[in-house]
């Protein structure tokens, strides 16, 4: 009984690792292509791949409500909004034009330096730390736990977020209005 349980946990871990590295590989490649591609629409589509991979990672971490929200808000709304922004500003579609400014190498050095610092710090701080993705439930589902937490512990930030969304809505209308 104990041995088979251990084997089950081990098999689950291996499956999680395989899923993680498949998602992570796709996300890394797409992110690199997104910031280097010469085609604007391709950049938006690579961003979609990265966001979908992040939704997969949330499911691996047993946060399925956030994964669904990610698909709805990021892929459903934000990427479409980006594409509309590209089309409304008559962006030069098609490959071949230069989309980078002349500080590309400086930016690459800064990004590499930042990644080096972050990587060394994370390796020093969390080397060998395990995370086990058990659903966080108080008898109900993960979504119910999030709802209870929002309306108990995070009521004020929730209300502030609603005010922020209202202000952003009105602000976007006022800024983009043609008068």
């Amino acid at each position: 009984m104990g041995g088979s349980h251990l084997a089950l946990v081990h098999g689950l871990n291996v499956a999680q690792q395989i899923a993680f590295f498949a998602l992570a590989g796709a996300m890394v490649l797409s992110a690199l292509r997104m910031v280097t591609t010469k085609n604007l629409v391709h950049a938006a589509l690579y961003l979609t791949v990265v966001l979908a991979g992040a939704a997969g990672l949330y499911i691996l971490l047993a946060a399925e409500f956030i994964a669904v929200t990610q698909v709805l808000v990021y892929i459903g709304a934000i990427v479409v909004l980006m594409l509309f922004g590209l089309f409304l500003t008559r962006a030069p579609l098609g490959t071949g034009q230069d989309l980078d400014n002349n500080q590309r190498w400086l930016a690459a050095i800064i990004a590499l330096f930042l990644f080096g610092v972050l990587g060394v710090t994370l390796q020093k701080g969390f080397k060998g730390t395990h995370v086990n993705a058990i659903p966080i439930t108080d008898g109900g589902s993960n979504t119910a736990a999030i709802g209870v937490s929002i309306f108990h512990d995070f009521v004020v930030p929730f209300e502030v977020a609603s005010i922020l969304l209202l202000a952003a809505l009105v602000g976007a209308v006022v800024i983009a209005r043609r008068d």
């Binding site: 993680f20 992570a24 996300m27 890394v28 992110a31 997104m34 910031v35 604007l40 961003l47 990265v50 966001l51 992040a54 990672l57 949330y58 691996l60 971490l61 946060a63 956030i66 929200t69 990610q70 808000v73 990021y74 934000i78 909004l81 980006m82 509309f84 922004g85 500003t89 962006a91 230069d98 989309l99 980078d100 400014n101 500080q103 930016a107 800064i110 990004a111 590499l112 990644f115 972050l118 990587g119 994370l122 730390t129 995370v131 086990n132 993705a133 058990i134 966080i136 993960n142 999030i146 937490s149 929002i150 995070f154 977020a161 922020l164 202000a167 809505l169 602000g171 800024i175 983009a176």
Partner: protein
């Protein structure tokens, strides 16, 4: 699973977003890179939430998603206004306030 796998992936996405925000000329591409940065933060929040076995990380990720949506709405409105006034969203050409 190792916590560091998630954190290093998020750090990589963050740095890629920083590179994109610094090196791109088109302002919509810069907004996309900022989305990449916010998304890396979300991965960190959820990984630490699972690590601490609390739901607070997921709640914070929800707030970040809401703020990102608001940011893209206002940001694209500003980009459209710049395009209407200057007929280009090339960030190198938006230098009216340069001394």
């Amino acid at each position: 699973m190792l916590l560091n796998e998630y954190l290093l992936l998020a750090a990589f996405l963050f740095c890629t977003g920083v590179y994109g925000a610094l090196a791109r000329k088109n302002s919509v591409l810069v907004l996309m890179s900022i989305e990449l940065i916010l998304n890396a933060v979300n991965i960190n929040l959820i990984a630490f939430g699972a690590f601490n076995h609390t739901v607070a990380g997921q709640v914070f990720a929800l707030f970040v998603i809401a703020v990102a949506a608001a940011e893209v709405g206002v940001g694209l409105a500003i980009v459209l206004l710049i395009y209407r006034n200057r007929h280009s969203i090339d960030l190198d050409k938006v230098d009216v306030m340069k001394g």
